[in-house]
Amino acid sequence: MAAVSFTVIGLVLAALAGFFGYQAATATPFWLTDVMVLPLAGGLIIMALQDKYARMTKWIAAAFSLPAMLMCIGLALAFRIDGAGGYQFAEHASWTPALGISYSLAVDGIGTAMFLLTGVIIFAGCLASWSVEHRVREFYALLLLLTSGVFGVFAARDLFLFFLFYEVAVLPMYLLIGIWGTGPKEYSAMKLTLYLLLGSAFMLVGFLALYFASGVTPLTFDMDTMLKTAYSPGFQKLFFPFLFLGFGILAGFWPLHTWSPDGHASAPTAVSMLHAGVLMKLGAFGIIRVAVELLPIGAHAWLPYFAVFTIVNITYGALVAMSQTDLKYVIAYSSVSHMGIVVLGICTLTDAGLNGAVFQMFSHGIMTGLFFALVGFTYGRTHTRIIADFGGLGKRMPVLATFFTIGGLASLGLPGLSGFVAEFMVFLGAWRFNPVLAVIAAAGIVFTAAYVLRVLQRCFWGPLNPHFADITDANRVEILCLTILAACLILFGMYPRPLVSLINSGVVGVLARVGGGG
């Protein structure tokens, strides 16, 4: 066995070295593929490891996700905002020419922001899983595989590739929740997977329709070609809902959201972080990148109606969160509420709304990652997630309580933390779009404040529950994980300009293609 194991690891490392060496030798860096390959290679090496190296597994996962995160930061810094913005770091290779499938990747400002989010979350997620003991190898391998899929979706410029990566990102969830989850994990895993596959089915119908109706010869899945195709208004209005709802399921669109509370509550910590933090953003990203951009007439026709549903998302999600008894369900419903703000921003098709939506995708991803990490760490110590069982934990865990406060304040849209910037821009866009919706959406933030502060008060404040008298505070790995996440919230909340400019360079392109209000 050992021989096989070493051979595989050697092969992967050699391939990796060859790949990077080739790029260095020819001076043609494939930045996006590099970022995508790193987690995948890490996952393969981990799979080849023997079980006895469980501790090393975690270090390998961290060793591969850290450079991925750093490269994402590098991409964001290297992205040229001035001038046209547009798509950058493009890569193109022919794959199945007969069917018009190619391997083409590129990111605009929106995609780059999502790369940054994914990079941060996967590294934090690896750190947050440090306490996993059961089948460590498989856990990390699946986690990293999923991450490669996510990177792929955010960069794909070919619909077939997009779909492929999308499924790579979504399917490992079934195993991750079903095996490493808690509570009714089989039920939740099944529900989540089937629900998301239903979404995929809708998407697939839409993708194939786009493919066959494009009228170009030869037929192609290339998204840039599709962008130039003028689909007939009737076609657009017919197929827009397929794409919107297909992606909308993953974005937690009401009333198709009920997979999310069960799924997030049952999933292990890092999986909740990735799922709520990044995967739900795939849905919103798909809505922008595929549904809205490729079918602008359909978007203009349908989005005003879908906007009403997002209002339900926001207020209903917040109200339902208020009466949850399980901490993880509170966070899960808050995600439903916050994703409503993302989709509302998209629905406005305004400059402010779209910028706010993408900023919220980033901000909520980080924030919810922070929350799920905190809940996981707390659960690891208290072995309960029922709010009524806690009380006064801040006395024993001041560090965790501080981070929870930061996350909570970001979640209720406190200025100075990134959530506010996003919500504010969405409300501005929504006001131009429809003042009534904007007012109701803004009212939702009062409920958010109420339930977030209620959780803080019940769990961390008040007299210490004597049951937890000798509980310990966060350890170093956990503090590192939380610090990275909180730093993003504070940094982009205090000075949002760099991130907004990055996102805006993408939004300008979207609005130019779709034609929306200023």
């Binding site: 009333p255 109200l319 910028n355 006064g392 304040l409 200025p415 109420a450 404040w461």
Partner: protein, 614 residues
Amino acid sequence: MFPGILALVPALPFLAFVVIGLVTRPWRWLSAGVAIAAISVAFLLSLGALSFLLTAGAETPRVVELTWLTTSTLNAHIGLRLDALSGIMLVVVTTVALMVQIYSLGYMSEEPSLSRYYAYLSLFCASMLGLVLATNFLQLYVCWELVGVCSYLLIGFWYDRHAPAFAAKKAFVTTRFGDLGFLIGLIMICTAAGSFDFVEIQAKVAAGTWTAGWLGTVAVLLFCGAAGKSAQVPLHVWLPDAMEGPTPVSALIHAATMVAAGVYMVARLFFLFSASPDAMQVVAVIGGVTAIFAALIALVQDDIKRVLAYSTISQLGYMMLALGVGGMAAGMFHLFTHAFFKALLFLGAGSVIHATHTNNMWEMGGLRKKMPWTFWTFVAGSLALAGVAPFAGFFSKDAILHLVMGKNLFLFALAVLGSLCTAFYMTRVICVTFLGEARAASGHAHESPWVMRVPLVILAVLSVVAGFWHAGFERLVQGGEAEAEGLNLGFAAVTQMVPLAGILAGVMLYVLKSPDPDALAVRFAPLYTLLKRRFYVDELYDWIIDRIVLRCSAGLAWFDRHVVDGAVNGVAWLTQQTGTQLRYVQTGRVQHYALAVFGGAAILLAIAHVAGAF
């Protein structure tokens, strides 16, 4: 040099917050030193800014800005705006903050989390100073929320007890409710103007871009935020509960500075409010009602801090009233004097609480001899608050009364009645706390240490002399050309009767016991209970939250679980059942399949035949 260097004023306390949080946290006295050093420099810079304004003139605001975020259509800045209003507020905030931070060295000396305390205080000062210096709506809102969260953190400073944890949440959610109006108003005006900037929007308002009706709507929405922050009726309920925080915090945040931010906001946006008579009317009426409403409740409170809290609400009402009748300078002057004497009163109350370990006045008594410094400074503060000449409150309150009399006699009557109540309840506090015989908690009371006495004396001096700056203040705020309204001696002589009558009544009831206050309470039992229960406003809100919001929430949670998710599970069940039933078709017997094939063919043929016949 100005206003660029003023960036240091908010930046230094913020830096102190960061340094305390990351570096000096384990050394509590060092943390306190860092915070006090930062605010001291900010204080000196603020004094410099004010004297600069006094010499160089304050007609045109001096502005520097930095881009905070920018998209194709949005352009938001953060910056510094130095003009009369912000210059005065800088001095008020840094003076009181410095006094409070020095005082806290004594008051909080036994607190193990002193570092956290000074970190929060520093963050508060940074946010408050950022608010004061705001150049635009967005920055105002951002800092507005930040001071709110500092207030939340400081009210809940002793988070391991139930009451502070609850009070902190209540304060935040209540003010947040008002801030919803602020946010909507802000979005309305900034979307319409295409800018967040005060200067640009002021120019557009002056140019008559919008109708008075529309501006009135915006102004009233913005005022919702001000009413929440400045604890105006009906959003006042959080401030008395906020007294659960440490007393120096009450002095700084919940008396002198943050709660005055609402008043400051209305003054800062006076160009907007004064463009709409209806909005001004709303401000005046809410202010007038708050002034009397809170003063009445203050008459019967037993907790010394709560009396002061209701008194603060009432005085904030006076400021709003002044603004509402068009007296921007008068309202701001009352803010200015009130900051000093109310901070003094809170710190005095803190000194008493420090000595007796209780908030209940009826457990104190006879402290005059034991705590002379506290007693005499407290008396000075009380006289200022009551508006007795020549203490600071006299000048500012008299200006307000004079202004209101000319505008609205009903509001004037409310204001005079409130003034009477003010003098009465402060006399009550002094009589019960300091005079008479010592009760249970006064036994071992002793005067507070010098670090607490020095701020008391400084603030007491300010409470005596601040009023004499009246004319200069009005000139500064209204610009050089406006002639400041002098003191009307005849009017002042008449209105002086009001606080004197209140003091006399207080002395009769609580020193001479004729009539006996307890007997009066029994005689007017319904009224007494109504006041004691604070007009049942808290009960009403609790009922709304319990019966409507929480039930609505529970109902929706049930709906989500059983109807929305029920439908999902229903589909799953249906699929499963269909499969289960269809399973029986799969018998594995060739005869059945053959039957099905031929049967199907027969049916199809029959259909074809029938269809063909038509």
